[in-house]
C-alpha cells in the first residue's frame, strides 16, 4: 500500500542520529578498518584511524539521514584519514619494524610445511615493498581494490576519480608488480 510504503521510508528518518551512527559503526567498522590497514599496514594505526574516522563522522555537520550511500561516504572519509596519517608518519620518518602483530600463524598448521610458510611470508613482504614503491596515483586504487568489500565504483568514489580511471590504474599497477615480482623471484 502506498501509505505503508511512505511510512516505511519515513521510519529511518525518525530514528535519532545516534542510532544511525551506531548502526553505521556496526555495519561498516570492519570496512573502515581494512581501508586504514591497506594504507598504514599496522593494526594499531589502523584502529586509531578507524576511531578518528568515526569521530569525524560524529563532528561533521552532515546528517546521516541526508547521505544517500553511507558506504561510499564513509570509505572516502576513512581513505582521507589513512592517507593523512601515512603522510604524517613519512614526515616523522617512522620506520615500520617487523611487528609481531602478524605472527606466522600458518606455521602452527600441520598441513602446511614450514618452509612453504616462510617462503610465502617472504613473497608477501616483497610484495609489500613493491606496492609501497608504486606511485601514489597507482598505489591508492590498487590497495583499495584488494579489499573484497569494495567495488571499482566505490574505490573511485573514495579516491575521488572515475571508475574507468581506477580500472586503468589498477591494470597498470598490476603490470608493474608482475614484472618486478617475477624478476625478483627469478633472481633467487
Amino acid at each position: 500500500m502506498a501509505g505503508e510504503a511512505i511510512l516505511g521510508e519515513a521510519a529511518p528518518l525518525a530514528r535519532s542520529e545516534d542510532e544511525a551512527l551506531e548502526e553505521l559503526i556496526r555495519t561498516c567498522s570492519r570496512l573502515v578498518y581494512r581501508i586504514a590497514y591497506s594504507v598504514l599496514r599496522s593494526h594499531h594505526d589502523a584502529e586509531d584511524a578507524t576511531q578518528e574516522t568515526f569521530v569525524r563522522v560524529l563532528r561533521s555537520n552532515t546528517r546521516l539521514a541526508s547521505v544517500t550511500d553511507h558506504k561510499k561516504w564513509l570509505a572516502r572519509i576513512a581513505w582521507r584519514v589513512a592517507v593523512e596519517r601515512s603522510k604524517q608518519q613519512r614526515r616523522r620518518h617512522e620506520i615500520a619494524l617487523d611487528s609481531p602483530e602478524n605472527p606466522v600463524e600458518e606455521a602452527i598448521s600441520p598441513d602446511v610445511p614450514g618452509d612453504q610458510v616462510v617462503h610465502r611470508k617472504e613473497i608477501e613482504m616483497l610484495l609489500e615493498g613493491l606496492i609501497a614503491a608504486l606511485p601514489d596515483k597507482l598505489r591508492g586504487p590498487l590497495v583499495l581494490s584488494t579489499i573484497e568489500e569494495m567495488s571499482f565504483e566505490e574505490v573511485a568514489a573514495a579516491v575521488g576519480t572515475t571508475e574507468a580511471a581506477v580500472r586503468s590504474r589498477v591494470f597498470r599497477a598490476r603490470q608493474i608488480l608482475q614484472g618486478k615480482l617475477a624478476a625478483a623471484l627469478q633472481k633467487r
Partner: protein
C-alpha cells in the same frame, strides 16, 4: 616453434597473474581485534560527553588568562622619568620668557647711568635670570636636551656683556624682593583691618 614459445609465455603470464591475485587478495584481508565496535562506540560517547559538557570551566580558564595578562601589563616595570633640574628657575610670579620690567633711573646703579641709558621710566624686556629661590642649583645645564631659544639668547647676552647682565640680575632681584615685601605688608594690614599705603597711592 614460435607458437610454442608464445604459449609458454602466455601460460607463465597467467600463472603470475594468478599468483598476484592470491597475494593481493591477502594484502588487505585482515580483521580487527575483537570488540572494535564497542571500543569505537565508547570513544564516541566520551567525545560526545566532552562536547556537551558545560563550558564553564573553559570560561574560568579564559578569565584567569585574561586576569593574568592584565596583571602582567600593570606590574610591568615602566622606565622612570628623570626630572632634569635646570639651572634656570622660574620667577616667583611663575612667569617665563622675557618679562616687562618697569625700571627707573634711580633703581639702576650709577654705572648703568654712565653708559648713557635713557632717562625716565622705560620698559625694557629682560630675559629671565636666575632667581635665588633657595633651592640648590647647578652651575651648568644638566640635561642633555638642547637649549631652548630663550636659554640660547640668555647665554649670548651673558657672554657678550657679562657686567651688564650681572647688574640687571641684581636689579631684578631687588625689584622682586620689594614686590614680595609690599605684598606681605598688604596682607598683614588687610588682616588687621586697615588698607596698606600702596593701595592708597594708587
Amino acid at each position: 616453434m614460435i607458437d610454442m614459445a608464445d604459449d609458454k609465455d602466455n601460460q607463465r603470464h597467467k600463472d603470475w597473474d594468478h599468483e598476484l591475485d592470491l597475494l593481493l587478495a591477502n594484502y588487505s584481508a585482515v580483521d580487527p581485534r575483537p570488540g572494535l565496535e564497542g571500543r569505537v562506540l565508547a570513544n564516541l560517547r566520551r567525545e560526545q560527553e566532552f562536547h556537551d559538557r558545560p563550558t564553564m570551566w573553559r570560561w574560568a580558564v579564559a578569565v584567569c588568562v585574561a586576569a593574568a595578562m592584565v596583571l602582567f601589563v600593570l606590574l610591568w616595570p615602566r622606565p622612570k622619568v628623570v626630572e632634569h633640574k635646570a639651572a634656570v628657575h622660574q620667577t616667583s610670579g611663575g612667569q617665563q620668557g622675557p618679562t616687562q620690567v618697569q625700571t627707573t633711573p634711580q633703581e639702576l646703579g650709577p654705572e648703568r647711568l654712565a653708559q648713557g641709558s635713557k632717562s625716565g621710566a622705560r620698559t625694557r624686556r629682560v630675559p629671565n635670570v636666575v632667581a635665588n629661590t633657595g633651592h640648590p642649583h647647578l652651575d651648568q645645564f644638566p640635561s642633555a636636551q638642547p637649549l631652548s631659544d630663550q636659554e640660547r639668547a640668555l647665554l649670548d647676552y651673558v657672554r657678550r656683556s657679562r657686567e651688564e647682565a650681572v647688574l640687571l640680575a641684581r636689579a631684578r632681584m631687588e625689584v622682586l624682593r620689594r614686590d614680595r615685601e609690599e605684598e606681605e605688608s598688604i596682607v598683614r594690614q588687610t588682616d588687621l583691618g586697615s588698607p596698606g599705603p600702596g593701595l592708597q597711592d594708587q
